[in-house]
C-alpha cells in the first residue's frame, strides 16, 4: 500500500515558546484509518493543523498525495478535508448553503446531487434549510463533517469527531466513517475514547508531550504489548505454594487462586507447564480464567510518567 501522507522530522514551537511537537516522522497509508491518541495537550490538534495549513511548520517537511504542503499547497489542500475539534459554523447559515459554499470554495463545480446524497447520509437532509442556530450540537458536528466532505477529499481529518456525541449517534458515526473508508477515503481521527480506536482503527499512533511514542498496527499492538493474566481456581485451599511452582513466577491469592502473568513474546513457560506441575502435586483445580490487557492499559502505561 502506498503512503498518502508523509511527515518527516516535524517540529513545532509556538511563538509563546511552547514546544508542542518534537521530531515527529510518520507515514499514513492510502485508505487506512489511523487513530491518533494522546492526553490533552499532547499535540494532536497541532499536528493536524499543520498538515491542513492552519499552523506554520517550525521544522520538517510534509507531503500529501506527493505534494509538498508549502510549495504545492493548492494540490495538497485539494485532497484534504478537515473537521476541526471545535464546532465553528456561521449559525445564521443553513446546512445546504454552507456545504455548497465549502465545495465551491475548493474550486469544484456545483453538484447538488452529491450534496443531497451527503446530507442524507449524515441525516441532515430534513434540516437542510434551517438556520444552524436551531440545530443540536451533534447535528452541527455532522454539518462540519458534511462541509469537510463537500469537495470529495481523499484524506479526512476528524479531530475528536465523537466528543460530546450520544451513544447511539456515536455508533452511527462509526458506521458512516466505515462507509467513507470503504469508499477509499483515508481517515485520520483523534479521540479520547480508547474503545473507538480499538473498534475502528487499522493503525494506532500515540502522541505524548509532542513525541510520537508509538505507531503500530492495531492487531500487532494488541498482541505485542498485551500481557495475559491467568487465574487458576483450586478445589481445596492451600497454605503455601509448593516449591516446584517457583520457576513459573506464580503467586497465591486468598489461598485459593494461583495467578500467573505472562507476555506473549517473552514467554518461557506455558500454562500447560503450570497445570502439569499442579497435577504432579495432586492439586486439583475447578476453573481457569484468563484476562487480557486492553488498549487502555497500554495507553496509560505509555503516557504515564
Amino acid at each position: 500500500m502506498s503512503d498518502i501522507i508523509t511527515i518527516e522530522n516535524l517540529s513545532k514551537s509556538y511563538a509563546s515558546g511552547v514546544h508542542s511537537l518534537h521530531d515527529v516522522s510518520l507515514s499514513i497509508r492510502k485508505g487506512e484509518l489511523f487513530a491518533l491518541l494522546g492526553p490533552n495537550g499532547a499535540g494532536k490538534t497541532t499536528l493536524i493543523s499543520i498538515i491542513c495549513g492552519l499552523t506554520k511548520i517550525t521544522h520538517g517537511h510534509i507531503q500529501v498525495g506527493g505534494y509538498d504542503i508549502i510549495h504545492q499547497y493548492r494540490e495538497a489542500r485539494s485532497k484534504i478535508g478537515l473537521v476541526p475539534q471545535e464546532i465553528t459554523i456561521d449559525i445564521f447559515d443553513s446546512p445546504w448553503k454552507t456545504v455548497r459554499f465549502s465545495r465551491s470554495l475548493f474550486g469544484l463545480p456545483n453538484n447538488d446531487d452529491y450534496i443531497e446524497e451527503l446530507l442524507k447520509s449524515l441525516s441532515l437532509w430534513d434540516k437542510r434549510n434551517q438556520k444552524m442556530i436551531t440545530l443540536s450540537g451533534g447535528m452541527k458536528r455532522r454539518v462540519m463533517i458534511a462541509k469537510a466532505l463537500a469537495h470529495e477529499p481523499q484524506v479526512l481529518f476528524l479531530d475528536e469527531p465523537t466528543a460530546g456525541v450520544d451513544v447511539e449517534l456515536r455508533q452511527s458515526m462509526w458506521e458512516q466513517i466505515r462507509t467513507l473508508k470503504s469508499n477509499g477515503v483515508t481517515i485520520i481521527l483523534t479521540t479520547h475514547y480508547i474503545e473507538e480506536a480499538e473498534e475502528m482503527a487499522d493503525r494506532i499512533g500515540i502522541l505524548n508531550n509532542g513525541q510520537l511514542v508509538l505507531v503500530e498496527d492495531k492487531q500487532t499492538l494488541m498482541q505485542r504489548m498485551s500481557t495475559k493474566q491467568v487465574s487458576i481456581e483450586l478445589k481445596d485451599p492451600l497454605a503455601t505454594l509448593p516449591n516446584t511452582l517457583t520457576p513459573f513466577h506464580v503467586s497465591l491469592h486468598e489461598h485459593k487462586f494461583i495467578k500467573m502473568r505472562y507476555d506473549f513474546e517473552q514467554e518461557t513457560h506455558t500454562i500447560a507447564d503450570v497445570l502439569d506441575t499442579l497435577k504432579q502435586n495432586n492439586l486439583t483445580y475447578v476453573d481457569i480464567q484468563t484476562e487480557q490487557d486492553s488498549l487502555e492499559d497500554i495507553f496509560v502505561r505509555l503516557t504515564k510518567s
Binding site: 495549513g53 449559525i91 475548493f106
Partner: protein, 253 residues
C-alpha cells in the same frame, strides 16, 4: 488565480451584508441628509461661497468621502474579523487559495459595498443642493481607489483586532477626526497658516481635495499630489497586507 474560489467568498460576503442591508444603507443616507439640512441649508445659507462654490455644493464631495471611508473600514474590518471571531476562518485558510485571492475576495466585497453607498449618497445630495460633476470618469476612479485603499486598511484592522472594541476604536479615534479635519466642511486655505501646514500631514486632505477636484475642477492641493498620495497609501497597505500573510500574523500561530 482561482476565480471561482474568490467569487465564492465575494458572493457569500455580499449575501451576508444583505442581512443588514437596510441599516447599512439607511444609516449613511440618513446621516448625510442631516448634514445637508444642518450644514448645507441652515448654517450654509449664512456662509459665503467657497472658491466660488455654494457651501451646500462645496461639502458634497467631503460628505461622500466621510461615509465612504467609514463604510470601507467598517465593512472591510468586519468581513475578516467575523470568521476569525466565530472560527470559520479555518475553512478559508485550509482552502487551496493563495492569500492574494483571499484578500481580493474580502476587500473586493467591502469595496463594492462602500462604492455603492458612495453613489447612493451622491444621488441623495442631488435632492438637497445643486451638484455638478465636471469629470465623472475621474470622480469614479477616485471613489474606487479610495474604497479599495480603505477596505484594505479595514481588512488589516480586522486581522489585528482581538475584540469588538478594538474593531471600533480605530475608526472612532482616528478616522473620524481625520475626516472632519480633512476639509470635508471647509477649504484648508481657510485655516491659519500653521494649521494649514499641519493639515498637510492628514492623508484624508488629499483624498477629499482630489475628489472635490473631479467635481469642481479645484481642490486644496493639485490633482497629481492627490493621486500620488493615494498611491502611497495603497502601496503601504499592500505591503503591510503582504507582511501579515507572510508572517501569519494573527492568522497562523
Amino acid at each position: 488565480m482561482r476565480l471561482q474560489s474568490i467569487f465564492t467568498i465575494y458572493k457569500a460576503e455580499l449575501l451576508r451584508m444583505r442581512r443588514t442591508l437596510i441599516q447599512s444603507i439607511v444609516a449613511p443616507i440618513l446621516s448625510t441628509s442631516l448634514y445637508f439640512i444642518v450644514f448645507g441649508s441652515a448654517i450654509g445659507s449664512h456662509i459665503n461661497e467657497i472658491d466660488g462654490i455654494g457651501y451646500g455644493s462645496f461639502i458634497v464631495p467631503g460628505l461622500i468621502m466621510l461615509s465612504v471611508l467609514t463604510q470601507s473600514i467598517s465593512t472591510g474590518s468586519f468581513g475578516i474579523y467575523f470568521p476569525r471571531f466565530n472560527g470559520t476562518i479555518y475553512e478559508i485558510l485550509s482552502a487551496p487559495m493563495s492569500y492574494i485571492e483571499v484578500v481580493i475576495a474580502y476587500v473586493g466585497a467591502a469595496t463594492s459595498k462602500a462604492f455603492l453607498i458612495g453613489l447612493l449618497i451622491l444621488a441623495t445630495s442631488f435632492a438637497f443642493t445643486p451638484v455638478s460633476i465636471q469629470n465623472p470618469g475621474l470622480m469614479l476612479v477616485f471613489l474606487v481607489l479610495t474604497c479599495i485603499t480603505f477596505s484594505l486598511f479595514g481588512f488589516m484592522i480586522g486581522i489585528w483586532a482581538g475584540n469588538f472594541e478594538k474593531l471600533q476604536i480605530i475608526p472612532a479615534l482616528v478616522i473620524t477626526p481625520l475626516t472632519f479635519l480633512g476639509g470635508s466642511f471647509y477649504s484648508i486655505s481657510m485655516l491659519p497658516p500653521f494649521w494649514e501646514t499641519v493639515s498637510l500631514f492628514n492623508p484624508v486632505v488629499y483624498l477629499i481635495s482630489g475628489f472635490r477636484w473631479s467635481f469642481y475642477g479645484q481642490g486644496d492641493v493639485s490633482l497629481t499630489t492627490s493621486f500620488v498620495m493615494i498611491g502611497v497609501f495603497l502601496s503601504v497597505s499592500l505591503i503591510i497586507t503582504h507582511w501579515i500573510f507572510k508572517t501569519g500574523y494573527r492568522l497562523k500561530p
